[in-house]
């Protein structure tokens, strides 16, 4: 693909995106409008993340792409091969070895370190969107720091269900100023957003917004004193590596209600297994619901 520039986008476009990223880093949590380009993959399939990655990648980078925590989900494969073709950068599945990680819906389990960039694909960057559909209104609400509506919504959840009924894309407040959508990561991942050693960049292509969290930013999940935020996950250990502190996917194994829980972060799970950890499934005995219920 020599007919395209390094990492597909032309340098002027990359410059425009980098400016938006820098502005985003300067005002953590603020949504910077940017002139999103049509990419050769559809809107809603990671065009924001792809543009941000294209703008930050250098030929020396090592690139990792995950979707749902896994390196081998189809869209992650597609985006990784796009940059292999257009940027010729080295790719990896190992979280620690990657310098740029593009993700959809998860933050890797392994803590990120200084020098790494985590790029999120964002479908709807506006945390207030489903409370107020008008962009002109929500921008005003951010300007005036008028977040009462969001608190009312969370309060109504509690009065109706006894809990805040948001399990992913759980809103956060950044440096005590902007309410931000962390992209549809499970709320289990929310605590990893704050005080990270890495740079976190959020790209929403269709909605033409970029926002960012510089390293060591204060990020607080919204809650109430008597209903504190809780990072929840399925109450099981991983059936493959035995991890008890990771986010799990539920996999249906048969048509009789059989199911198992495995790490959604495939790299994390594989490295644990390589280090000798085992779970219920990696024992020789067959796996059953009864056994799982005990765990």
């Amino acid at each position: 693909m020599n007919e395209y520039n390094f990492a597909y986008l032309d340098e002027q476009t990359k410059r425009m995106i980098r400016r938006a990223i820098l502005k985003g880093l300067a005002i953590p949590g603020y949504q910077v409008p940017f002139a999103s380009r049509e990419m050769p993959m559809p809107y809603g399939w990671g065009t924001g993340g792809v543009q941000v990655s294209a703008a930050v990648l250098t030929p020396e980078d090592r690139f990792k792409v995950i979707d749902q925590g896994a390196d081998d989900t189809t869209n992650a494969v597609s985006i990784r091969s796009f940059f292999e073709r257009t940027a010729g950068v080295e790719t990896t599945t190992a979280t620690a070895e990657a310098t740029v990680i593009q993700t959809r819906h998860r933050i890797p389990e392994e803590p990120l370190s200084e020098g790494q960039i985590l790029v999120y694909q964002v479908p709807i960057p506006e945390p207030l969107r489903f409370l107020e559909p008008r962009e002109s209104e929500t921008r005003k609400m951010h300007e005036l720091e008028e977040y009462g509506l969001m608190h009312v919504k969370l309060y109504e959840d509690i009065s109706r269900h006894g809990h805040i009924a948001t399990s992913y894309a759980y809103p956060v407040k950044v440096e005590d100023r902007y309410v931000m959508d962390p992209s549809p990561i499970p709320k289990f991942d929310n605590p990893k957003l704050g005080d990270s050693d890495a740079i976190q960049l959020f790209g929403a292509g269709r909605e033409q917004r970029i926002y960012a969290l510089p390293p060591h930013t204060q990020v607080v999940s919204l809650d109430f004193d008597d209903h504190p935020f809780e990072a929840s996950k399925a109450d099981h250990p991983c059936a493959l590596c035995g991890a008890v502190n990771t986010y799990l996917d539920e996999v249906i194994t048969d048509d009789a209600g059989g199911r198992m829980f495995v790490c959604s972060d495939t790299d994390y799970c594989e490295s644990r297994r390589a280090a000798g950890f085992t779970g219920a499934m990696t024992h020789t005995r067959p796996f059953s619901m009864a056994e799982q219920g005990q765990s």
């Binding site: 002139a35 559809p42 597609s78 091969s81 009924a165 992913y168 269709r206």
Partner: protein, 362 residues
Amino acid sequence: MYVAVKGGERAIENAHAWLAEERRGDTGVAELNIAQIREQLSFAVNRVMAEGSLYDPDLAALAIKQSGGDLIEAIFLIRAYRTTLPRFGASEPIDTGTMACDRRISATFKDLPGGQVLGPTFDYTHRLLDFKLAADGAVPEAPMREVAPADVPHVTEFLNQEGLIEEAPRDDTEPPDLTREPLEMPAERALRLQALARSDEGFTLGLAYSTQRGYGRTHAFVGELRMGAVTVEMDIPELGFAVDIGEITLTECETVNQFKGSKTEPPQFTRGYGLVFGHSERKAISMSLVDRALRWEELGEDNVGAPAQDAEFVLYHADNIQATGFLEHIKLPHYVDFQAELELVRKLRAEAGATQMQEAAE
């Protein structure tokens, strides 16, 4: 037995190979070539050029071939290609007053300078399947007559002379560029028109139709609909003057809308405007109706809450490439989020169950 979902890469390659085979269909049937699509499916080509925002019939035909006739997919191919093209500059504004009209009709005047020219149209055809076409596509030559080139003035100018229609003064401010700047609200008319010119034909048609049925009624007459070729001129800085760089076919629609006046404007006719690449009347008329409906604020009309009056609603949802991408992305895996929802629903149900048990016990 659980097998980790491996081999996504090979699955993707194989799926695409299969799709390529499906696209080609039965190899016993001759393959379409680009020229055939360009010449014989010109309305499809026009739509792809208009909504792809790129005037190139050959590339549009290629995109239609590659997409197997899925026009939104073809538009997507053109958009993705277009965005990689370097921009040398901007042309001079085209002058549709000098259009070499193949078709020019007015629904507001029986006859007028420049005449009513029906041109090539589906109008007044009887929509009867032509079974002869299935066997033999030969067409008799259409009758021809020499026409002296004449001025074809815009119909709205006649109304303007009487002061019966709102003024549309020339405005030389540089229009915003939707493809280079993020769409921000409120959007001025030039930006709205730009978005509508590339908006989905079906969506625009639906909105325009809704205004006719009373959701923000604007009482539109087709003052004029014209289709034909105009020259594109570009100022070459090295030369110091503008030169013709080519010719494009356009469809232009100007509606004349009844207007009883408002707090700020006297009773007069008002304008809606549509301009589309290629021969695309449905789109041009739809565009002008939606344009007019969106102008309620600047004309001091009431917002009756109709969808076609709502610029944010219209502009954020009119682009079919954005819409289809986001719509279809729900095919992508969402098991992480779904898992979080599963846990939440289980928890809420367990608690509701416990409360019921307790109530029963009491």
